[in-house]
């Protein structure tokens, strides 16, 4: 295939063919999330919404990636990666220490469920197919790690006298070719039975009672030319969400009951969890028998780290483009509005807002000191406009309070002039005077909502324009209005596809649109009561329990559907959830909009503001959408 013109378009790791390209684009900061004890000993569940980076993380531990990193360990772009992997114990100065066998569970496993067999038989068939595939993948991994081709399979063997001596029926001896032949035949038998148009012959189907492959293929038992292959064997099972719920349970039970010395990592989308689990703490904590790596949750708690990581990801892709030479992705994004072209807008803005503030303060002598302070007018025109607009919000707030007849002094102003009010003022100014708001790397990182793929597609559209500009010999740095235009267009396209892309898509869209419209309505109140703005809603934890119960005992009140719709939003990272949030003496389940949707609804990108809602309100939104209460005056101009 051709080399990519825009490396940001290479999203899923499966589509990056060359290992060198893959490791060059991989940012070592991602590995920080694995820095927990016992990652090799205890099974790990890596979980995220689509595009969180699960498969890329697993691919890094495959033999070909590790070999490539080791070979390029002195190069600038792989030095840090080598260091991070060494710290984790995945490699050392002599080479990779891990034999990683990667297996996708996306293919054919779920089809087993459709066979006309009892559950016990299906479970045995499922485990036998898993055993076959784990064996095949591990044997291929051994050859890959040793850089040998298939003809050298005979050099692979299992150690005599180790815990691996009990081989399943059908394996002639403990050599590579026998193991391979056994696994290949087993897999072929199951797959052909599944695919056949003819009736199933049950007696010809194999069956296993456990994940015997994990016992066979331990690090101390697996040899190449008589010596150990690696210090550790790691089996990585991807796409677990594609199994049926029953199969997923069988798999996890088999893994945890085996207590194998082989490391096991499983990766799944949030959608694999039941609605009950999605609405529960299970999202972040998981079952107590293994470690859970919830990718988005990890980044949400480390905002600056996420920004650093995606900045590194973006820079690696920027440098990888063949068409133009751009050093850093941040260089493509102009991140100030202090250019000459904006000065007249600011001057006009200052004049309009000043007049408005003075008019609003007419007859209210308590604001005299505040207005005088602003009239002293220090700073750039942009800063002055921001200061006046902040003052307008503060005046509005004071006017809505019960009058206390005390004059407000400059100390009061200083105290009330907080950063959240300034953020709200900036958003108001942007809206009133047609200034861009969604621009710059930092805000782009916020818009990604802790999801790497979301960041890549938004950045990809921006980078596309930079590459085009470079080809036309124009400046590659995009001005803020261009950045905002591109982002709005990309996000609108995603929004339009939503009904097609997610489960309960139409209802999901209606719920999100209602939350977005409510948030906009609340955010635009002239006194900005929830500065910097509202971008989510919350239900009582007790109402959350009602939703969970509705799934157990479906009724006609619509709660079960609402639970499904909210779960679908969480699974696709469209709503970011905080459980047990204490406020006003009660506990809440807060649901924030994905930050890209904040762009769609003209909301601030900061978290914080939310409005409490009853389940009845949400049900109403599902049916009719949000309707703003009538009779409010004094909207933001």
């Amino acid at each position: 295939m051709r080399e990519p013109r825009n490396p940001f378009r290479l999203r899923a790791s499966e589509h990056i063919e060359s290992d060198e390209t893959f490791v060059r684009l991989f940012s070592p900061e991602v590995l920080d999330m694995l820095s927990t004890p016992n990652i090799w000993e205890r099974p790990q569940i890596i979980r995220s919404a689509p595009g969180g980076g699960k498969t890329s993380l697993l691919r890094l531990f495959t033999p070909s990636s590790l070999r490539t990193i080791y070979a390029l360990r002195t190069r600038e772009y792989t030095k840090d990666l080598f260091k991070s992997l060494s710290a984790l114990g995945a490699m050392d100065d002599s080479g990779p220490c891990v034999l990683g066998a990667f297996l996708s569970c996306g293919h054919s496993f779920a089809t087993l469920e459709d066979l006309d067999l009892d559950d016990g038989r299906k479970r045995r068939l499922f485990l036998s197919l898993l055993n076959a595939r784990i064996t095949l993948s591990t044997l291929r991994g051994v050859l890959d790690l040793r850089q040998k081709d298939f003809s050298e399979l005979a050099a692979v063997s299992l150690a005599k006298g180790s815990s691996t001596t009990k081989l399943p029926d059908g394996i002639l001896d403990a050599t590579g070719p026998s193991l391979y032949e056994w696994a290949q035949d087993l897999e072929r038998t199951v797959c052909e039975a599944l695919d056949s148009f003819l009736p199933l012959s049950e007696s010809s189907l194999p069956g296993h009672d456990s994940l015997v492959a994990l016992s066979m293929l331990s690090a101390d038992g697996l040899l190449f030319e008589g010596s150990s292959v690696a210090q550790r064997v790691l089996v990585m099972l991807d796409d677990i969400h594609r199994l049926t719920p029953k199969q997923r349970e069988w798999l996890l039970d088999a893994i945890f009951s085996l207590r194998s010395s082989v490391g096991i990592w499983v990766a799944e989308r949030l959608e694999a969890l039941t609605v009950d689990e999605l609405l529960s703490q299970g999202v972040s904590q998981g079952r107590d028998y293994g470690g859970v790596v919830p990718i988005e949750d990890y980044w949400r708690g480390r905002v600056s780290k996420f920004e650093k990581m995606i900045s590194s990801v973006a820079d690696r892709r920027t440098r990888d483009t063949r068409e133009v030479e751009i050093g850093r992705f941040a260089d493509c994004l102009q991140d100030t509005l202090d250019g000459d072209e904006w000065q007249s807008v600011y001057q006009r803005g200052i004049s309009i807002v000043t007049d408005r503030v003075k008019q609003r303060a007419t007859g209210h002598s308590e604001f005299t000191a505040w207005i005088s302070e602003r009239e002293k007018g220090s700073g750039t025109p942009r800063e002055r406009l921001l200061a006046w607009r902040t003052l307008e919000i503060l005046v509005e707030r004071e006017l809505r309070k019960t009058p206390d007849f005390f004059e407000l002094d400059t100390a009061d102003l200083e105290q009330k002039d907080a950063s959240d009010v300034r953020v709200a003022a900036e958003l108001f100014i942007a809206r009133e005077f047609g200034l861009p708001y969604y621009y710059g790397l930092s805000r782009l990182a916020c818009m990604a909502s802790s999801n790497i793929e979301q960041f890549l597609w938004m950045s990809g559209d921006i980078f596309e324009e930079c590459v085009s500009a470079a080809l036309l010999k124009r400046a590659t740095q995009l001005a803020p209005p261009d950045q905002e235009r591109i982002l709005r267009k990309s996000i609108k396209a995603v929004w339009k596809e939503l009904p097609q892309r997610v489960r309960y898509g139409t209802q999901v869209m209606r719920l999100l649109e209602s939350i977005g419209k409510l948030a906009k309505w609340e955010t635009e109140k002239p006194n900005a009561p929830y500065a910097p703005g509202v971008s989510g809603v919350a239900i009582l934890m007790s109402d959350r329990d009602k939703l969970k119960n509705a799934l157990q005992r479906p009724s006609n009140d619509g709660l079960a559907l609402l639970a499904e719709v909210i779960a679908s939003c969480i699974a696709h990272n469209l709503l970011e959830v905080k459980l047990d949030y204490k406020c006003k003496g009660q506990y809440w389940m807060v649901m924030y909009l994905n930050r890209m949707l904040c762009v769609h609804f003209n909301l601030p990108l900061q978290y914080g503001g939310w409005r409490e809602k009853r389940l009845l309100d949400l049900l109403d939104w599902l049916a009719k959408g949000f309707v703003p209460p009538s009779g409010r005056s004094g909207f933001v101009p």
Binding site: P4, H15, F197
Partner: protein, 364 residues
């Protein structure tokens, strides 16, 4: 293959005075073209259709297609009146979704075709006009496999014939649009075994999508599913609109060239009118890639049909034939929860096409 007047003439001539024993397989849906084929057969020979196997596919409780229950009932009434007293009607329910929401339609559709069917009828006609791809592909593949099984049996040459009917009308196709698509693709039942095996994981994979308009989301999902080493898109050329192939390339420019990095030399061209041309082109591609990659253990080929029903049948025939000849071939497909009529269908005057895909004409 016959189309238009030549199609109805063919059936008149083929059925006249022959006392043919015809099984018609129909999909029960809201498409106004559902009964056009049955009407044509009835006009050719009043009581030739001895049995009508009605596939009642159920797209699930949330399917947008459920809005058109009244149109489905109209079609069913028309079918009853056309069949009235002339043959029996057998209905088979085909659920598209399992209780846990998985796609099971293709396996269930294949199961709907009993093994004795080709012994009971001398002509099996599958009218795919109101069937989704996920239903008619496995039905046709199952029938073809039954024909092959009988031939391989050696006891008797297959005496039955297999025909495919399609009522084509572009303006109706444009009105009936998929609403929503699944977030992942799957291999069609009967076309997965070689593709999903871990033991063939290192064999190069070639993907042949037959392109049609407005399918970018499907293409992306299919590509994520297949993860091919090489892509050979099929473009319709020649076609009524001489710029259609160019328009398709323009429509998918970013996807094909920036994301999927398709080599421009890999495009395959096939006539938009002739499914057998699509069949030939795809089959030749399968053969050539396998020859070229013999040293690497040959290759796996995945076909995806995203174009008209007629061309999709060509793609299916190529995949089936290649699989029969022991090439590793699969069909990757992404399902839709249902369909919606955009606006109103003002008139329904489709052109009938008939393909004779197995039987007497090939036995010689």
């Amino acid at each position: 293959m016959r189309r238009g007047d030549a199609c109805s003439d063919f059936w008149k001539e083929y059925l006249a005075g022959q006392n043919r024993n015809v099984l018609l397989i129909l999909g029960l849906g809201f498409d106004p073209r559902m009964c056009v084929g049955l009407r044509m057969l009835s006009e050719a020979e009043v009581s030739c259709v001895k049995e009508c196997l009605l596939i009642k596919y159920n797209e699930g409780a949330n399917s947008p297609s459920r809005e058109y229950g009244h149109l489905v009932r109209n079609n069913q009434n028309t079918m009853f009146s056309l069949m009235n007293g002339k043959g029996i009607i057998r209905e088979i329910d085909v659920p598209m979704l399992s209780n846990d929401g998985r796609r099971i339609g293709s396996r269930r559709a294949s199961d709907a075709i009993g093994g004795d069917i080709i012994k009971r009828f001398d002509n099996i006609v599958v009218d795919i006009s109101s069937m989704p791809r996920g239903i008619y592909f496995p039905i046709l593949a199952k029938l073809l496999s039954l024909f092959d099984a009988q031939a391989a049996d050696g006891t008797s040459a297959p005496s039955a014939n297999l025909h495919v009917l399609v009522a084509e009308q572009v303006s109706v196709d444009e009105k009936i649009q998929e609403e929503g698509i699944d977030d992942h693709a799957d291999y069609m039942h009967g076309f997965s075994s070689d593709l999903v095996r871990e033991s063939t994981a290192s064999v190069p994979k070639i993907w042949i999508p037959v392109l049609g308009e407005g399918k970018e989301a499907q293409l992306r999902i299919l590509h994520d599913h297949v993860v091919p080493h090489e892509i050979c898109p099929v473009l319709p050329s020649p076609s009524v609109n001489p710029r259609r192939a160019d328009d398709l390339v323009a429509e998918y420019r970013e996807l094909l060239f920036d994301r999927l990095r398709v080599e421009p030399a890999n495009f395959i061209y096939a006539s938009e009118w002739n499914p057998f041309e699509v069949y030939r082109q795809i089959y030749r591609t399968v053969e050539r890639y396998n020859d070229a990659l013999e040293a690497l253990g040959k290759c796996k080929v995945v076909v995806s049909a995203l174009s008209s029903k007629l061309l999709s049948v060509g793609a299916l025939l190529a995949a089936y034939e290649a699989k029969r000849n022991n090439f590793m071939v699969g069909i990757s497909h992404v399902e839709t929860p249902g369909y919606r009529i955009q606006g109103q269908i003002d008139s329904c005057n489709p052109e009938m096409c008939s393909l004779w895909v197995a039987g007497e004409c090939y036995n010689a």
